[in-house]
């Protein structure tokens, strides 16, 4: 073959070469920048906590851990936290199973209302149940007064009840998902062979769902041990890790001890995370068939239906009652004691300022969270660099880590240059952005799964450089994920307490912190009114999300392809 004179890229101008380089590598440059953000706002604070737990005035030391394991009040909090997690987990798996079984296999008329009740707590901050149970069963509680009882809600019973109600949606959703993905013909076959429904549940349904149930149980466990509000408000004298971390800082100003408590709280979370992701990954029989549950529901056996319904209705009524009590508490002087209608709680100035502050922070967090989340999802899905999985794990870790730990981390990390943020609104916003990043990232990733990569390749093929592809093609297609990320981050920030409570400054209260403080002071009317407003804002956001996701139907990307 004749050797033609080849005009190679090397002979072109510098600018041409730079353009070619950027076109190829811009996504990696983006990835680098995002990783830097993750490192500063997630890895660094968490690392700082770890270091602080081992680093005293005279360098490396184990004395803080020694202190923790010497004093009963400290190590007991670990023990108590694990007990709380275990008990809540067991109760919630049972209750969640009853709810989910009824909504997937129960009578049709019951399915929808039961599902709504089971999911209702999602629209409220978890500590709503602490406030409502104090209103009902506290020292001056409505039921205590009515029946002249001397029930003490500031106890194990109180904490466990509130926790169970708060995390019911989580347990329910996961178990319902498992039950839904179980191939109905398996249960039908067993029934066909003459097995009773009880027998089917025992030897078909539960064994097949076991891995899924275990995953649900572990997640409930992690979330409950990390919860701050309920044990803090209802725990009374019982020590728990998350509230004790807060007390270690506010009460004793002992950042080293707070760090130790944080590390101790993280440990079970990390162990379970590893178990969840590496040991249980891919385990389970439920994914084999995606067909939804049998179209024609069978009549449930009475012996099963009745106990399942009793449990579900009992728990359901508690949920509804809690919401009712909050609504009532917002508008009457003292529920059950002085039932005169007042607007004082609702109109309270301090409360409204706190709500407004929360809205500002949540809007900021929602916006930044959606931007960072969308970009991260894009980079993780489309980038071609090593360490993508680590990046994804770090991005999602904020959600799995206890809020108190990240709160302590932010105090340590950002109270000195180069990142002096303490006392500003930015520390609150950034904290929530990176804690709740998982939702935006996950929404983005699942959206990108629907958009064929060929669409982006096509735009590059037609001459678009990376930024043009991103802004003209990717972003419009990911817009629904962006909105979802925005609204979810907004809502979770509105309700979040465990982390921001470390970071607020006295003059700048957030709604959740205000609710916590008023509840601690026994100002239940003020707490109820503020909680009600938070619920209203969350409910409106959910409504908007629903409308928006219906309006933005940009799901064509996948359909036109293979």
């Amino acid at each position: 073959m004749e050797e033609a004179v080849i005009d190679s890229i090397q002979s072109r101008g510098l600018w041409y070469r730079i353009r070619a380089y950027f076109s190829r590598n811009l996504i990696n440059i983006f990835a680098g920048a995002l990783f830097a953000l993750l490192a500063i706002f997630l890895l660094y604070p968490i690392g700082a906590v770890l270091v602080k737990s081992l680093w005293g005035d005279e360098g490396f030391t184990l004395e803080f851990y020694q202190e923790f394991f010497t004093f009963r009040v400290y190590y007991e909090s670990l023990y108590n936290t694990l007990i709380l997690g275990t008990v809540t987990m067991i109760i919630l798996v049972v209750v969640g199973f009853c709810f989910a079984y009824l909504t997937t296999r129960g009578p049709l008329w019951l399915r929808k209302p039961l599902k709504i009740v089971a999911l209702l707590p999602l629209a409220a901050p978890p500590y709503i149940f602490a406030i409502s149970s104090i209103t009902l069963l506290g020292r001056n509680g409505f039921i205590n007064n009515l029946f002249n009882l001397d029930f003490n809600i500031y106890s194990w019973t109180g904490v466990i009840t509130a926790q169970c109600l708060a995390f019911l949606p989580l347990s329910f959703m996961m178990i319902e998902n498992v039950l839904n993905s179980l191939n109905p013909s398996l249960e039908e076959t067993a029934s066909d062979m003459g097995a009773s429904e009880f027998r089917i549940i025992r030897s078909i349904t539960i064994p097949l769902c076991a891995p899924g149930l275990l995953k649900a149980a572990l997640l409930v466990f992690v979330m409950t041990i990390a919860e701050f509000g309920n044990p803090a408000i209802l725990g009374g004298r019982i020590p728990f890790l998350a509230p004790d971390t807060y007390l270690a800082i506010t009460g004793e100003g002992d950042i080293n001890l707070a760090s130790v408590l944080s590390v101790v709280l993280i440990t079970p979370c990390v162990l379970i995370f590893i178990l969840h992701n590496y040991v249980l990954r891919g385990k389970g029989y439920t994914t084999i068939v995606g067909k939804p549950t049998a179209v024609e529901p069978k009549e449930m056996a009475t012996g099963i239906k009745i106990p399942f319904m009793i449990i579900s209705l009992f728990v359901g009524i508690m949920v509804l009652m809690s919401f009712g009590v909050i609504l009532l508490g917002a508008f009457v002087k003292i529920v059950g004691v002085d039932n005169t209608f007042v607007m004082d709680h609702v109109l309270n100035m301090q409360s409204n300022i706190a709500i407004w502050n929360s809205i500002k922070v949540s809007l900021g967090a929602g916006l930044f969270g959606a931007i960072v989340g969308t970009l991260l999802a894009y980079v993780i899905m489309r980038g071609k660099f090593h360490g993508k999985h680590i990046m994804e794990m770090v991005a999602l870790s904020g959600f799995a880590l206890p809020g108190t730990v990240i709160g302590v981390g932010y105090i340590i990390a950002f109270n000195r240059p180069p990142f002096l943020l303490t006392g500003t609104i930015w520390i609150l916003i950034l904290n929530c952005v990176f804690r709740f990043l998982a939702v935006g990232v996950e929404a983005g990733i699942s959206k990108l799964h629907q958009i064929s990569i060929e669409i982006e390749e096509a735009s590059a093929d037609l001459g678009a450089d990376f930024l043009t592809v991103f802004f003209k093609v990717v972003l419009p297609l990911m817009f629904s994920a962006f909105i979802a990320g925005f609204i979810y981050t907004f809502m979770t920030t509105m309700m979040s307490l465990s982390s921001v409570i470390f970071l607020v400054t006295p003059g700048f209260d957030l709604a959740s912190v205000y609710i916590y403080l008023t509840a601690q002071l026994g100002e239940l009317g003020l707490a109820s009114a503020a909680t009600m407003k938070v619920i209203a804002i969350v409910a409106i956001s959910l409504g908007i999300l629903k409308i928006v996701s219906k309006k933005i139907r940009l799901d064509v990307g996948k359909k036109q392809g293979a």
């Binding site: 070619a20 064929s452 060929e454 093929d461 037609l462 940009l554 990307g557 293979a562």
Partner: protein
């Protein structure tokens, strides 16, 4: 004519590995201006990877891609004069048909008027006049295919790359679109590389076919060459059915360019002469089922005839497919069905006549491809 022989794309010794897996092992080929070349091969043979290397979506581990005299190896897709029609069409779902077609023109900062004119021109080229304002989900699969083609042609690329563009269409539409695609390509004279796993599609649309297997070019040639003179056993078996007859060369007559061979079925006289085949060499005869003649066993004895028995008969409308048994060997024979043709039944005694022009392969086939 001279102009058409200029190479538009040259692939020089392209290697590509994904981790430890080497998917392309030294691919060299040239695609002439205005030609439609098809990469065909079984799945996993590397054909799509090769196309993506030309388009710039994948970088070759080593080797050069020369486009119109320029080494474009280091350039990203947006800086190459190649345009791809994707398997999924990859139309932008948030844009109308017009916006999709005009996307590249807009990026090149064409004035709006000029874009509109060009888009109109392209819409009429692909027979979609008046549908420019539709959104992508409001047009059929075949129309999406046309839009994807128009979009790729908008900027008059030097090479059009087509990645299994017809695989999402149903069978009838596929044949129609194939013909239309070919006619548009010929009309505007664009150089094109077409990728498919469908041998018949490759045969019917191409000027030349490049058969890949296992990362190596097996043969490049016109569809006729590929079918009638396959370079090796793989190619012979890849396109259409084939009966392989093993044999040895008994004699070669250089004066008449003929030879005689003995096969497992019997002796044959062939109009065949190939310089590298010598007396005593083991060979393979490539006997296509439709090239042999089937006739009743009685009657006049012909040259190159073997006697056998019908094992099975399958009537398929335009042809009858027979399996004829010779002892423990079988041969597939296709007979096209003229009205009055004789049909054979199972266990009928028949004779099979092999044409003198049958294609011959050396048995120990050169592992390197013949181009």
């Amino acid at each position: 004519m001279e102009d058409n022989k200029k190479p538009m794309v040259e692939l020089r010794d392209i290697f590509k590995s994904f981790g430890d897996v080497e998917v392309l092992k030294g691919i060299s080929a040239r695609i002439d201006k205005g030609e439609l070349l098809t990469f065909v091969g079984p799945s996993g043979c590397g054909k799509t990877t090769l196309l993506r290397i030309v388009g710039g979506f994948t970088t070759a581990t080593s080797g050069q891609v020369i486009l119109d005299g320029e080494d474009i190896g280091g350039l990203p897709p947006n800086m190459r004069d190649t345009r791809m029609v994707f398997q999924s069409y990859a139309l932008f779902p948030h844009m109308t048909v017009e916006k999709n077609i005009g996307f590249g023109l807009k990026l090149k900062k064409w004035p709006k008027k000029k874009i509109d004119g060009r888009v109109e021109e392209l819409l009429s080229l692909v027979h979609m006049e008046g549908l420019g304002g539709r959104t992508i989900d409001r047009i059929s699969g075949g129309q999406q295919q046309r839009v994807a083609l128009a979009r790729a042609l908008a900027l008059e690329p030097k090479v059009l790359l087509l990645d299994e563009p017809l695989s999402n269409l149903d069978a009838n539409l596929r044949v129609a679109m194939r013909e239309e695609l070919r006619s548009i390509q010929e009309r505007i004279g664009v150089t094109a590389i077409f990728v498919t796993h469908d041998q018949y599609e490759a045969m019917s649309i191409s000027d030349r076919v490049l058969v890949l297997n296992d990362g190596v070019i097996q043969q490049i040639g016109s569809p006729m060459e590929i079918y009638e003179q396959p370079a090796n056993k793989f190619i012979a078996g890849f396109v259409g059915y084939v009966n392989f007859l093993e044999g040895t060369v008994d004699a070669i007559y250089e004066d008449t360019l003929t030879s005689s061979v003995s096969t497992e079925y019997g002796k044959l006289d062939l109009d065949h002469y190939q310089e590298d085949i010598k007396v005593g060499d083991e060979i393979l005869l490539v006997v296509r089922p439709e090239t042999v003649t089937l006739s009743p066993s009685h009657g006049k004895e012909n040259q190159n005839t073997f006697h056998g028995m019908v094992e099975s008969h399958m009537y398929a409308g335009n042809l009858s497919k027979y399996t004829v048994k010779f002892g423990d060997r079988e041969m597939i024979v296709d007979q096209y069905n003229p009205r009055d043709s004789e049909h054979f039944k199972r266990n009928d005694k028949v004779k099979v006549t092999i044409p003198r022009s049958v294609h011959v392969l050396k048995k120990k086939v050169n592992p390197f491809p013949i181009s």
